[in-house]
């Protein structure tokens, strides 16, 4: 059986998802305060890394990276409600791209698996 990443379409699928996902994030008042829109290219590159990971693709993130990378955001108030919102926007993105519900659930599970590291607890 093919992997989640293969079923979703690999890197081209990630590329297609980045714009849609990032647009949703920037438009959503629950979470857009955490995203700097000045350096959009750098932000998009980070989104791509995130999406590759939750698509089950190749990545080298460690729990430590996740903690360090979000520490300053946790200090600014990042909490479970924001992680929920991101997972919801992620699901909406995949739905727009025609991904099956079971696969969306699998992506959400992957995203959830780093929740504690992201929230530094």
């Amino acid at each position: 059986m093919s992997s989640l990443y293969e079923r979703l379409g690999g890197e081209p699928a990630v590329d297609a998802a980045v714009d849609i996902f990032y647009r949703k994030v920037l438009s959503d008042d629950r979470v857009n305060g955490f995203f700097d829109a000045v350096d959009m290219e750098a932000q998009a590159a980070k989104q791509k890394g995130f999406l590759t990971m939750v698509f089950g693709g190749p990545n080298n993130y460690t729990g430590k990276d996740m903690r360090e990378g979000h520490k300053h955001l946790v200090e600014r108030g990042l909490n479970d409600s924001h992680v929920d919102a991101i997972i919801e926007l992620l699901g909406g993105t995949l739905k727009e791209l025609g991904v099956a519900d079971a696969d969306i659930q699998e992506v959400a599970d992957l995203a959830n698996s780093v929740r504690d590291d992201v929230l530094n607890r």
Partner: protein
């Protein structure tokens, strides 16, 4: 801690410092301008060791192969030997063929190069007054159509280069050109895509080149140019652009000013250029966008245009940095 060797002397590079910072602090005379990795004024060459990839971003492959890098973006991770590049090879000599006033504070500078110079309209080059003073300007001319390279030079109060152009430069004088660089230009293919161009002040220069390139390439999609000025006198190509829009059914010119007065033609829209553009074109899905001028406006527009549906890869932004 990495060390950099320049002109026979070894300098220590402190954590997080660039090669440019280090050499300037040690009273070494290194030409520089934007200090943001764009203008390429601080181009240097590495002769021993390896420079970080980030310091070669945006350089031509042939430059990378020769070890050229940007001193302002180079935080060395190992010891390196560096030198200044041979400027004779990098810079093309040109002579001033025309100087025309386009507005009270904008000069059109036309240069004739001593040897063929390849570029795309909308790219930028560094113009050098002498070995030390250089500034980046965008190309408004169209290769193959305009014989000369054309620049719009805005007079910046207290600006060393622009004051020189406005007050001292004469026809027949020599200027040196380095470049071109930048990816803000018309690309062939996709002739049915709609194109949006927004610029303020002399941000019009590259856009004027791109518009003419698109028209010359027989572009079929709609081409919408929004040019913003503080007041009507800032719309320094108003007549040329109006006539261009009369000649080409798919080219639309939208002049905008922050402040209109009783004499302002009714064709000129009063308001914030970002709002005007987004109200005229609310859905930018599938569009290609070019943004030039004031960095704050360019960054704001980039976000708004992306949110209006434009793909990030289809947005070309060229914020004008002042030295």
């Amino acid at each position: 801690m990495a060390q950099v060797k320049f002109n026979g002397t070894v300098y220590k590079v402190s954590q997080g410092q660039t090669v440019l910072d280090t050499l300037l602090e040690n009273q070494q005379d290194i030409a520089n301008s934007c200090r943001a990795g764009a203008c390429q004024s601080c181009l240097m060459q590495v002769t021993k060791g390896v420079v970080p990839e980030a310091s070669q971003n945006g350089l031509k492959d042939s430059y990378k192969a020769k070890g050229y890098f940007l001193a302002c973006s180079c935080k060395p991770e190992e010891d390196i030997d560096v030198c200044l590049p041979d400027t004779e090879q990098l810079r093309v000599e040109a002579s001033v063929s025309q100087l025309n006033m386009l507005a009270d504070d904008v000069v059109e500078l036309k240069l004739k190069t001593s040897r063929p110079f390849e570029y795309f309209s909308g790219q930028y080059v560094t113009l050098w007054r002498d070995k030390r003073l250089g500034r980046s300007y965008s190309l408004a001319s169209l290769p193959g159509v305009d014989e000369d390279l054309i620049f719009h030079i805005k007079l910046i109060p207290g600006g060393a280069f622009s004051s020189w152009v406005h007050n001292e430069l004469n026809i027949g004088d020599t200027v040196f050109i380095q470049g071109p660089a930048g990816d803000c230009f018309y690309t062939q293919g996709n002739i049915d895509k709609n194109i949006l161009l927004i610029g303020t002040g002399t941000g019009l220069a590259p856009l004027y080149g791109i518009v003419r390139d698109a028209i010359q390439s027989n572009h079929q999609g709609e081409i919408h140019l929004f040019h913003g000025g503080l007041n009507p006198s800032g719309l320094y190509l108003h007549e040329q652009l109006e006539s261009l829009s009369r000649e080409h059914a798919n080219f639309y010119y939208h002049p905008c000013v922050l402040k209109a007065d009783s004499l302002t033609s009714k064709n000129i829209i009063e308001g914030d250029i970002a709002n005007v553009a987004l109200q005229s074109i609310p859905d930018m899905k599938g569009w290609k966008a070019y943004l030039c001028g004031d960095p704050e406006l360019v960054n704001k527009l980039r976000k708004q245009i992306f949110l209006a549906g434009c793909n990030m890869n289809d947005i070309y932004a060229d914020p004008f940095l002042h030295a």
